[in-house]
Every structure is written in C-alpha cells, then in structure tokens.
C-alpha cells in the first residue's frame, strides 16, 4: 500500500505529515476503529431523524441569536459573574491570556497547577508557558495526561489519546511512572487515578475550560465523565477558567438543547456523567470550593471571523468533534497531521483565523467536500461552504483587501492567467472550435509531466475526435437512415 504513495520528502507541512501518517498502518487502524465506533454511537443516540433535525435547528438558532448580540451578552456575563464574586479578565492574544493566568498563580505564590480538559488552554500552549516559569501544569483528563506524559499534543478534541492503543499506553506508564506493564485498561486507569489524586490534593491552582458561559445567571458550565473537571474546579484554592469569547449563551434554558446536542454528537451519550455548573467562589459559610474564581475571555482571532457574516458561523461551534469523527480525510491522516490545536473539519475553518491562512495554506484544501461534516454538525455550521470560501480567500490577489488574516497566500499570477485563458476559451465559440480542432489532432503532444496530476495518474491524452464531433456524425447518420425509410 505504502509503495503506491509517491515518496516525498517529509516536510513540515500538512502534505508531508499526511504522507507519513498514511503509511503508518497502526495509526490508521487506531483511527479507523475509533471513528467507526464514534459514528455508530452518534447514530444510535439520534434514532429519530425528526427529533434530531428539530434539535439541530434549535441549536443553530440559539448560537446565531447569541452571536447576533455577542458584545452585549459578554458585558452581561461579565456583570453577572462579577456580581457573583468571579473575577473576569479579557485577552486579545494567547500571550496576554497566559500572562493573566501567570499573574494569578504568582499572586498566590503557586507552583503547581492541575488542569481539566481545555482546548483553549491548548491554544494558549499554557503548559509550556508556565513550565518556562517553573510552574508545573499537569493535565488531569486521562487522555490529556497520557498525551502530556509522552510530550505530544492531543490528536482529537474529545479523545486526545485516540491515536494510542493500550500497549502503547502501558509502555509509556512503565517508562515514565515506573509501574509494571499491563494490558488491562482498568488497571491503567487506576494508575492514572492514584498518580493524579495526589496532584489534585497538592495543587495551588486549578485550571479548566468552559463549555457554555451563561449570561443570564453568570454561570460557567462544564461537561465531563471522569470527575477531573470537578476536582480541578473544586479542590484547589483558586480556580481559573479560560474560554473563547464565542462560548457565551443568553439564557440558562438555552443550555438544555445544546447539552443534549453536545453529548450525543460527541460520544453518543444522553448526557455526560457530570454537568458542573459553577456560579461563584466558595461563600463565607461553605466548607469547600475555591476561594477565588477567575474567568479569562480569549479572542485570539475570533473577532476576525466574527467580522464577516458568513465566516461568523464558524463561532457556532460547541466543540463536539462529530465533524472529525465523520471526516474521511481526518480518519485517514489522524489529528497530528493538521499540525495545529484543532484538527479535522472544524480545525480547518477555525485555525486560519487564529494563526493566519498563510500558516495553514493547505487546511481549506485538505477536504473532498463530501459534506459529511456539515451534515452531522449539531449547530449546522455549513463547513463545506466555509472551506470553499477560505479557498477563495486564499487565492485572492494582493490588490484585494484580505478578509482573513494571511489571506491570498496561495495567489499565483500564473494560475490566475491560466484560468483567464480557460475562461476566454470557453466563452468565445470560434476560439473554442480552434482549440478543439488542435487538441484532437495534436493530442499526442500533451506533455508527460503535468505537475501534481501526474504524481498519481498517467497524463491524459485527448481523444482523436471530440464528443461534439461524434454526436454530430451520429445524428447525421441517423438522419440519412431516417430519410431512407
């Protein structure tokens, strides 16, 4: 199989990494098995199509409504949270967000942080930032912990260690924690539990993400199955939540459909084991919970996507991961090939706003536009449409204003000229006829090397007679024979 894939130098690009991933049989099996199972679980969780479609419509409505008054809702959220005793911080960049988190930790002379699963903190590369400042920042979600222990990044937003099998985890635990190797998943989890429980106990600060921030009540809602999110937000004396500005919803009741969509789309579960709704720090007479709660609201390019009415839909995302589970490209190349925090279809439409299209020029093109992602998206983000839009944005000429940062990075005057010629050819009949005559008579002269096309295919040779010619001849023959009868 791998022999048929052209050998290309592995470069630091999507293409290069994809070639490597496609040749890795273990990785492909791990993803194939996991994605098949996740797709089945989702399908089983939505047995009634009418119910599912109604709920997706409502999910889309709630997010679109929230975005249509996003700045007001953010202010309302801030006011409510402040009233509840939560400190609210704003950050335009990940650097700023890291600085805010670091300042909070420093003010408590903290040196140990435990983290519940948070994609925004991955976006910030918070672990590295804090490590450089001698603060240990430990992941406590089992999957994230495994990935961190191996010095890797998550390969899936819901199942961070999905690319590893139990033997790989067992070896890792053996090497890093000095425990005996075991093929028993339960035993592996218990090793994680014992190791991390000690860390929860010692931690000075707990960091978490947020699934939904509710403006009406000033509430941060987190979903999880393990209990590490509750640990991180309840045990340490300080809790810092980090989230993107798009996570705010207007009302508590908005959460009812969104929760159902999120857990069913992500894992096929009617609900997660824990739904954790935090509305403030420990009250004076309460016996546990953090004494301080902070929320960091991060922009990091989101306001850029927001500025364009079509691209704004990117911010509907509730991070369920269903689009990647159903993506034929993701399933084959795996999460690490994308080289960024958010992989898969959602990664392809959200990352350009964070790092610039010029940094991820292949992202919008790494799709067959089969449409599966858009079909399963619980909040109906038209992902294929947005991918096409980003492709267009990335070939805009430098004279046109860039809508997305780093846009126009794939612009080529040669390509543009070629398409102009193609257009002229197809809109001028005389020119077209001349071209057709030449192509059918001189087809043998087609070059053997046609760039990327001939990497995987033989060069096409035009037929000796065009379809148009053949049809004409056929009709003439019929006419003649018709005249005879």
């Amino acid at each position: 199989m791998s022999q048929r894939i052209p050998v290309k130098e592995l470069t630091d690009s999507f293409r290069g990494r994809a070639v490597g991933a496609l040749a890795d049989a273990q990785l492909r099996t791990n993803f194939r098995v996991a994605m098949d199972s996740l797709m089945k679980k989702r399908a089983d969780a939505f047995p009634d199509e009418e119910e599912r479609e109604g709920l997706r419509e409502l999910g889309n409505h709630i997010k679109a409504r929230a975005l249509s008054r996003l700045p007001d809702l953010l202010e309302q959220l801030e006011a409510k949270l402040t009233e509840n005793g939560v400190h609210v911080h704003w950050a335009e960049t990940t650097e700023e967000a890291n600085r805010i988190v670091h300042t909070i930790i420093e003010s408590k002379q903290g040196s140990q942080v435990v983290k519940g699963k948070s994609m925004v903190s991955e976006e910030m590369e918070m672990n590295d930032y804090l490590a450089e400042r001698d603060i240990e920042c430990l992941e406590s979600d089992m999957g994230e912990y495994i990935v961190q222990l191996d010095g890797e990044k998550p390969s899936h937003i819901i199942m961070p260690a999905i690319h590893k099998n139990r033997r790989q985890v067992s070896k890792l635990f053996h090497n890093k924690l000095g425990v005996d190797e075991t093929d028993d998943v339960n035993e592996l989890i218990q090793i994680g539990r014992r190791t991390l429980r000690k860390k929860f106990l010692e931690a000075d600060v707990g960091v978490s993400g947020v699934n939904f921030a509710i403006a009406e009540t000033g509430t941060l809602l987190l979903v999880e199955n393990e209990g590490n999110g509750r640990m991180s937000t309840t045990v340490p004396p300080v809790h810092v939540a980090v989230t993107g500005i798009e996570k705010v919803v207007a009302n508590l009741r908005d959460v009812a459909p969104l929760l159902s969509l999120l857990t069913r789309s992500a894992l096929g579960q009617p609900i997660t084991t824990y739904v954790n709704m935090i509305s403030g720090p420990r009250k004076a007479d309460e016996l546990d919970g953090p004494e301080e709660v902070h929320l960091v609201l991060l922009d990091n390019g989101r306001s850029g996507a927001f500025a364009d009415a079509q691209l704004r839909q990117t911010l509907n995302c509730i991070r369920c991961g269903a689009c990647m589970n159903h993506c034929p490209v993701y399933t084959r190349v795996g999460g690490h090939t994308y080289g960024e925090v958010y992989p898969g279809p959602i990664g392809k439409i959200v990352t350009p706003h964070m790092v610039g299209l010029d940094h991820v020029p292949d992202h919008p093109s790494a799709s067959s536009l089969c449409g599966a992602c858009g079909e399963v998206c619980p909040v109906k983000i038209p992902i294929p449409e947005l991918l096409q839009r980003l492709r267009q944005e990335n070939v805009k000429s430098p004279d046109e204003p860039a809508v997305v940062q780093g846009g126009g990075s794939k612009y080529s005057w040669k390509e543009r000229a070629l398409w102009r010629m193609w257009m002229a050819l197809n809109t001028r009949p005389t020119l077209y006829k001349c071209f057709l005559w030449a192509a059918t008579r001189l087809g043998k002269l087609t070059p053997k090397n046609l760039g990327p096309w001939t990497e995987n295919h033989t060069a096409p040779v035009p037929a000796r007679r065009s379809l148009h010619d053949l049809a004409k001849a056929h009709l003439n023959a019929e006419k003649t024979s018709g005249d005879r009868s």
């Binding site: 409502l58 007001d72 429980r197 106990l201 393990e226 919970g289």
Partner: protein, 223 residues
C-alpha cells in the same frame, strides 16, 4: 485601550447595521420527545442509570438508613461521610446510635483545609441527598450547600444518594422551570449521571476514573 474595549469594539463594528435575532426558542423540541407517564418515569431513570453501572434500589422512606448500613457491611467498608446539618443526616445519626452500627460516621462539619488528607485517602463512602432527578437522561440533581459540601459526591469511592420518588421530573427543561433555576443558583449545581468513568484508552469504558467508582441511588417512596 484595554483588551476588553478592543474586543468589544471589534465585535460591535462587525454587527454594524444588523439587528439582534428575536428569541424563537421552541420549547416543545426539548420537552415533547422526553415525556413519560408517571409509572414509566422512575423506570426510565432506573434503566438509564443502571446502564452506566449505577445501583438503584426503591424502598419505603423509613427503611433507608438500614439499607445504607447493609450496603456498607456488604462491602466491608469502615466509614461513611455524612452531612450532620441536614434532615437525612440527623436521621442517619439517630439510626446509627440506636443500631450501634460499627461503621464510623464522619461528619463533614469543618472546612476542607482542616482535613484534606483524610478526606482524600481515608473516606470509604458518603451519603448525600439530591434535589430531584431527570428521567430523560438518567441524572441526579445535586444542590450542594454549606451543610452538604461539593466534595461529598466526588472524593469517596462509593457515593450513596437519596432520591425522593416524587421529585423525579421528565426532562432538564421541566426541571429548570419547576425549580426556577434562573432565579438563584447555588455555587455549584451538579447533574450526576453515574459513577465516574472514562473511555480515553481505546474507547474501553473504565469506571472510577477520578470520582466515585460506585454510585448507589436509593429511591424513597413517600409513605
């Protein structure tokens, strides 16, 4: 200008000329598919919770302290964390004294800082009340307060929860409405739908990830 001002300014510029969308929340979408006849409601809750390894018992309200003792005995557990300031906590303590039960009752009556190590490593089980349950998803509603703190349902390997049969609602939306959640939420409202679990390794389900390894629900039928 501060980051806050910059962000809000950019967002407002993006919305220029547009109007906020009206609220067209169709509540039937989250209520109608999730309605149950009274006799099916508890059955639904029970079967969903049992699917995720929760033990569920239905018993007459007066009998629950004895059941709790039996659960501890069967598991050979040495102690039980309880909330002395609650009605059920007092009931439990009375029963324990009368029955001269040998399991040690631990009262959660001081701040966590004073006994963190003990709470983390030495407590075998806990018992808490609930603020009802949701049949549609098989979830308990926990409303922790100063009498019954948050960690009671998280740290001990076994969590026993008391649920009044009359407080089971059809779905989350109805629960929010009936209890008027927007009017005032506790510091930490929780929905708990089983013991702690993870599927992070090969998607193999394993229980007891970070929270309780076992969850037992005692459904109390009103006498």
């Amino acid at each position: 200008m501060s980051a806050r001002d910059n962000i809000l300014k950019k967002l407002r510029a993006g919305l220029e000329g547009s109007t906020p969308r009206p609220d067209q929340f169709d509540e039937t979408l989250v209520t109608e598919p999730w309605q149950y006849a009274p006799e099916d409601r508890i059955q639904r809750l029970r079967s969903l919770m049992e699917t995720v390894h929760t033990e569920v018992y239905t018993l007459a309200a007066a009998n629950w302290p004895a059941k709790v003792q039996e659960l501890l005995e069967n598991r050979r557990l040495a102690n039980l964390l309880y909330a002395p300031g609650t009605g059920h906590g007092q009931q439990l303590a009375e029963f324990w004294a009368e029955a001269a039960a040998e399991q040690n009752l631990l009262a959660y009556d001081r701040p966590i800082e004073e006994w963190k190590e003990e709470l983390f490593w030495q407590v075998d089980a806990s018992i808490t009340g609930t603020a009802g349950a949701i049949a549609a998803t098989g979830s308990l509603v926990l409303w922790p307060d100063r009498h019954e703190p948050r960690l009671m349902s998280l740290l001990p390997p076994l969590h026993i929860a008391l649920l009044k049969a009359s407080e089971v609602e059809d779905n989350l939306y109805v629960m929010m409405e009936k209890q008027n959640w927007p009017a005032g939420l506790p510091t930490n409202l929780l929905l708990v739908s089983g013991p702690s679990k993870t599927a992070d390794i090969e998607q193999v389900l394993a229980y007891g990830a970070h929270g309780p390894k076992e969850l037992v629900v005692l459904i109390l039928e009103d006498a």
